[in-house]
Amino acid sequence: MGYENKSFDLRGQICPSTLLTALKKINERKVQLKEGLILEFKVDNRDAINTIPESATRMGYRFDVEKLHGFYKIKIYK
């Protein structure tokens, strides 16, 4: 698939949880992630900054958290 960033904007989402949404996205794209895909999640949920990276790490992914204006950008990649 190549190196591309798939971006998801999860700002303002309370329900369903940002975490679950993100996890789902990650699961769906686990093959691409292996091949080099980088997923971006824009969140404004403070919990999500911890929970998403924690889970992703357990699953063997690496992450970046970037603080931007009023929101955070979380990058997930293999």
Partner: protein, 807 residues
């Protein structure tokens, strides 16, 4: 239904939410917030499915990780076991956690024992104290070198193993077996320290960087006295040295230089060393020049001694007056000394290895048994006598023969075996000649003894004649008869002179000096010698020339000899001048004479002269240019004049003539000179004289003479009779006034003994000793023996007269 259903739905929903949270926790994350998930979302998003899939990924991830770990572990294990060092991992309680097989090999044990190893036991104190139970042990690793464990040496490195959190639970200890290195270092150190040879390290400028104990000992320096000094400070000046630029060459070209040098130790003594310099390490980081040098001073001393001995031998051989030839067992020449070279007219270089017989130039066909048999056989043969010498005649390069005395002795090698021979040649030509001369001189001796005997007899006869003639002269009645008798008297005197000369011929001995007036004396000798020769002579003395005190017969011998030489120089006749004058010798003189007054007598001829080259040889004994000469005439003359305290010199020009000058000490006055005047007063003496002689005619004639002089004479013919008569006369109160005693009497009872006996009787007796020999000891020292006076036979009247006059 509604509530229940609703209630149950809610229960389910809550149960689901609770489990989802449970799962999220297991997942390792926070549970959801209450509003994060509603029923709709649950159904649409499928949270459990998501979580399940997440677990799936987690597991997958874990598996991957595990695989990686396994691989890593295998890698580590491979490295762990294959690495060249021994590795031990211990925990912070010093318990063995793990180790590699290498360690087992290094410590030479199996695996099991390692576990039970007590850290504390194995490692040296220092390590133990530092690390065991040291939980506060910090970051850095520590290294320990040359740790001794179980007869081996290890370099040990201890590294703390940190976990991610920063705590240290384990220590990794690496062991590097450096035993070989340590051993070779030890070995080097042992060699370095125990070597007898000096080992010094220099940098390329020649500065001494290190030296072993042997070097210190040899150079006599304390520990580091010379470290830092330049090697040139211990080099002796006159010896070749390694200069700094040569040192650089050694390093750059990595070449080895062999040297022999002279060093000076700290006490100032000189040491000879030899060895080599080569490139080497001065220390871990610096390369320089190493030198290994051996003290060869002793060897050098031995070498010098050997050289000196060789030199000594060479010089000795050179100065030996005999020819020395050494030959090897094949009778080939090994060495000839200088004398042999001259004798055989060869040079040492051309005779090396030449057969001996080839260089001995025999005059007749001859062969040395040495050459015929070879040294080995010869020296062990029966015929060889180590003390034997034999004579050979060789011919020299001028073609004339000369005789050599040959002495052969074996050359013995170090193992006492015969390795050749030594031939010594002694040129005995001169020796033989001298023997011949000695033979001649003993003949002369015999002749002179015979001459003495004859002279003695003649003297006696002459005495008789003299006395009778004198008597007759006294009784002569006419002048003409008197004159004739005077001539006869003179003839007898001459005859007496002749016999005197005959008797003193070739005899040294005591001089009987008397004061002589030269003019008459010289004239008389000239008359005697030159009468009948073809030469004419002229005797000239300056007026009032001094007297000399000389042994008349000896001086006449000298003058006679010179005159004869002068005659022989002018075989066809010529003039011989005899001059006599006073001369003063002062300090500046070149003559070998003391300061004083002398009389110079010169005998001059006009003969062929003596070449200058021979002039200083003519006084040598046995030197003669005459075919039948003895070579003794001038030698004896020289000796006689010398004994008188004078000197004889020659002055000659070839073709012009020769002059001999005799210098004799002058007598200050004429005291002692018996003038003829005195003795002419003949008187009558009324004295009593006892005359003793063994010769009848002497007794008779002398008695007559004495009676003419008015003397009462008693004549006896033996010593015993003399004593008897003397005693008798004394007893009778008519003692003798004078006794005349002949020295030689048959039976040995001669004058001396008689005198002894007589003086026993009367110590005051006046005895006159008489003899036909002027050189008799008794005559010369008559006073010392106690005699009143002496008389020469034959007795002349005037002498007797004089004697009687003075009693």
């Amino acid at each position: 239904m509604g509530n229940e259903t609703g209630g149950e739905q809610e229960k389910l929903y809550n149960y689901l939410k609770k489990k989802i949270d449970h799962l999220l926790e297991v997942l390792g994350t926070k549970p959801l917030n209450p509003d994060e998930l509603d029923v709709e979302s649950i159904l649409s998003i499928d949270p459990i499915g998501i979580i399940a899939e997440s677990f799936d990924q987690i597991l997958e991830h874990l598996n991957e990780t595990n695989e990686e770990l396994v691989i890593a572990k295998e890698e580590i294990s491979a490295i762990f076991n294959s690495v060249g060092v021994g590795i031990l991992v211990i925990d912070k309680f010093c318990r063995v956690h793990s180790f590699n097989s290498r360690l087992c090999e290094m410590l030479e044990t199996d695996e099991k024992p390692i576990y039970s190893l007590n850290f504390a036991e194995i490692f040296p104190t220092e390590i133990r104290e530092n690390h065991c139970n040291d939980s506060s042990y910090k970051e850095n690793f520590k290294e320990f070198h040359n740790v001794a464990i179980k007869n081996k040496y290890f370099d040990i490195k201890i590294v703390p193993l940190k976990k991610q959190q920063g705590t240290t639970n384990f220590f990794i200890i690496s062991f590097n077996d450096v035993t070989d290195k340590v051993h070779s270092e030890l070995m080097f150190q042992q060699i370095y320290d125990n070597a007898n040879d000096m080992i010094i390290g220099l940098d390329t400028d020649g500065v001494i960087k290190n030296m072993n104990s042997a070097a210190r000992l040899i150079l006599g320096c304390s520990d580091d006295e010379l470290i830092g000094k330049n090697i040139s400070s211990i080099l002796a000046e006159d010896y070749s040295s390694i200069l700094p630029f040569e040192l650089k060459e050694i390093v750059s070209d990595s070449c080895t230089k062999n040297v022999e040098m002279k060093l000076v130790d700290q006490q100032g003594s000189e040491i000879y060393v030899d060895g080599s310099f080569f490139r080497g390490k001065l220390n871990a980081s610096q390369t320089g020049v190493l030198g290994i040098l051996r003290d060869i001073t002793d060897k050098k001393i031995v070498e010098k001694e050997l050289e000196r001995e060789r030199e000594l031998l060479s010089v000795t051989l050179k100065s030996i007056n005999d020819g020395v030839i050494t030959v090897n067992n094949n009778c080939q020449v090994i060495m000839v000394n200088k004398m042999a070279e001259e004798m055989l007219a060869v040079s040492s270089s051309e005779v090396e290895n030449v057969m001996l017989e080839k260089i001995l130039n025999f005059s007749e066909i001859n062969q040395l048994p040495l050459c015929r048999m070879g040294p080995k056989k010869y020296f062990t043969s029966r015929g060889y006598d180590p003390n034997s010498r034999f004579c050979l005649t060789l011919r020299n390069k001028e073609g004339s023969d000369y005789k050599v005395d040959v002495f052969i002795t074996p050359l013995i090698g170090r193992n006492s075996n015969i390795i050749g021979g030594v031939v010594v040649l002694k040129d005995i030509t001169d020796y033989l000649r001298i023997q011949e001369e000695l033979l001649n001189s003993s003949k002369m001796e015999a002749l002179s003894i015979m001459a003495r005997g004859i002279a003695h007899d003649y003297n006696n006869i002459l005495t008789a004649i003299m006395s009778n003639v004198s008597l007759a002269k006294l009784k002569a009645e006419s002048e003409s008869v008197e004159k004739v008798l005077k001539n006869a008297e003179n003839a007898v005197i001459n005859a007496k002179n002749l016999t005197t000369q005959l008797s003193t011929f070739a005899k040294e001995g005591v001089l009987a000096k008397e004061v002589v007036s030269l003019k008459d004396f010289l004239k008389s000798v000239c008359d005697f010698t030159l009468s009948g020769s073809s030469c004419y002579y002229n005797v000239h003395c300056t007026k009032n020339v001094s007297y000399v005190e000389v042994d008349k017969s000896r001086l006449s011998q000298v003058i006679n000899n010179l005159l004869v030489n002068a005659m022989q120089a002018m075989p066809d006749g010529g003039k011989i001048g005899v001059d006599c004058k006073d001369i003063d010798v002062d300090e500046d003189t070149t003559l070998p004479l003391q300061r004083g007054h002398y009389v110079k007598i010169s005998v001059v001829d006009e003969g062929k002269g003596i070449p200058e080259s021979l002039q200083n040889k003519i006084f040598d004994p046995f030197f003669t240019t005459k075919e039948d000469g003895t070579g003794l005439g001038l030698a004896t003359s020289y000796s006689i004049i010398n004994k008188h305290g004078g000197h004889i010199a020659v002055d000659s020009i070839v073709g012009a003539g020769t002059a001999f000058h005799i210098y004799l000490p002058a007598k200050k006055d004429d005291y002692g000179y018996r003038t003829k005047m005195d003795s002419h007063k003949i008187q009558k003496y009324h004295k009593k004289v006892l005359l003793m002689d063994d010769n009848e005619s002497v007794l008779e004639s002398t008695s007559e003479l004495l009676r003419e002089l008015g003397v009462n004479v008693d004549a006896v013919r033996s010593g015993e009779k003399a004593v008897e008569k003397f005693a008798e006369a004394l007893r009778n109160g008519e003692p003798y006034d004078l006794l005349i005693l002949d020295i030689t009497m048959p039976g040995g009872f001669g004058g001396k003994k008689v005198f002894k006996e007589i003086t026993k009787i009367d110590p005051k007796a006046k005895c006159v000793i008489s003899s036909g020999f002027t050189s008799d000891e008794l005559i010369k020292n008559y006073k010392k023996y106690g005699f009143y006076s002496y008389l020469h036979k034959p007795y002349a009247l005037r002498e007797l007269n004089k004697l009687l006059m003075h009693i």
